[in-house]
Symmetry: C2
Subunit: 159 residues, 2 copies
């Protein structure tokens, strides 16, 4: 039997790999936006993709840090930022997440936590929500790119 | 230590609960479309949401069945369908998935499989891809709804 046999669908390591694969794709989606549309273009009264990307920055690494330390500071400000600044913060988050994740005790993922002082749930569900929220808003970025006549990155490429 | 202590981020049961929560939200997104726009409205040369919904039907229950049995038939035809038919097939898939999932041996999720004769990967990654693809296309449906002046269902509600 492999080491993961008991009742494992996903190990913590597999989840981080999965998440960082999504984050690489989201990074390419941010890169695909023209600078001048990043914080302005929108459809149907929704937010520009730049605003969504900042929300993702304020959720990903801060959630990993919160699950590990109990400190739920959101890191980056919510203000709109030029694309280059978002990409720089994105890369800093990637490194921070890779550093912090292995330090989280496995049992912690099954404890009920209060994220950012307002979302109470079991840690693994809080983390899945953060990833789902990224996939959700990135897909909206795909529609914005298509509406701008730009081909988005391939959904299935996560390297 | 809880039963899930060893190296578990997600158990198979937790993953199915997570997936069905997403599928309930996607069902509400399908319901929110006016019949006359379901198979016609699109942005930027993308597919109508009805076509995407049929793709999701052809991936979800068929993947669960494929992982369990090795039979990778796609079930429903790829033809566009009225919204009521998609919802009926959706509910049939929900029941089928709930019936088949607990029969999958846990070790199977960590075996390399060839899904639909063309996607070779470890089973848990194939399954995560199917869920991600649903979240991705549903979010595009959200943009279509907003562009039509319709408020989509709340993203965080999964009951």
């Amino acid at each position: 039997m492999p080491a993961t046999a008991p009742d494992v669908f996903l190990t913590p390591k597999a989840l981080l790999d999965h998440w960082q694969g999504h984050r690489r794709l989201t990074r390419r989606t941010i890169e695909a936006f023209p600078d001048e549309q990043f914080n302005s273009f929108a459809i149907g009264g929704m937010r520009p993709f730049g605003t969504m990307a900042v929300e993702l920055l304020r959720m990903a690494a801060p959630t990993v840090n919160g699950v590990l330390t109990g400190d739920w500071a959101e890191g980056a400000s919510a203000d709109p930022k030029p694309k280059a600044d978002v990409l720089r913060l994105w890369d800093e988050s990637t490194k921070q997440m890779n550093d912090l994740w292995p330090k989280i005790p496995v049992a912690r993922f099954h404890e009920k936590l209060n994220a950012f002082g307002q979302y109470e749930d079991v840690a693994y569900r809080l983390i899945m929500y953060v990833i789902d929220n990224e996939v959700h808003h990135r897909a909206q970025g795909y529609v914005y790119l298509r509406a701008l006549g730009i081909e988005p990155p391939h959904f299935w490429e996560r390297d």
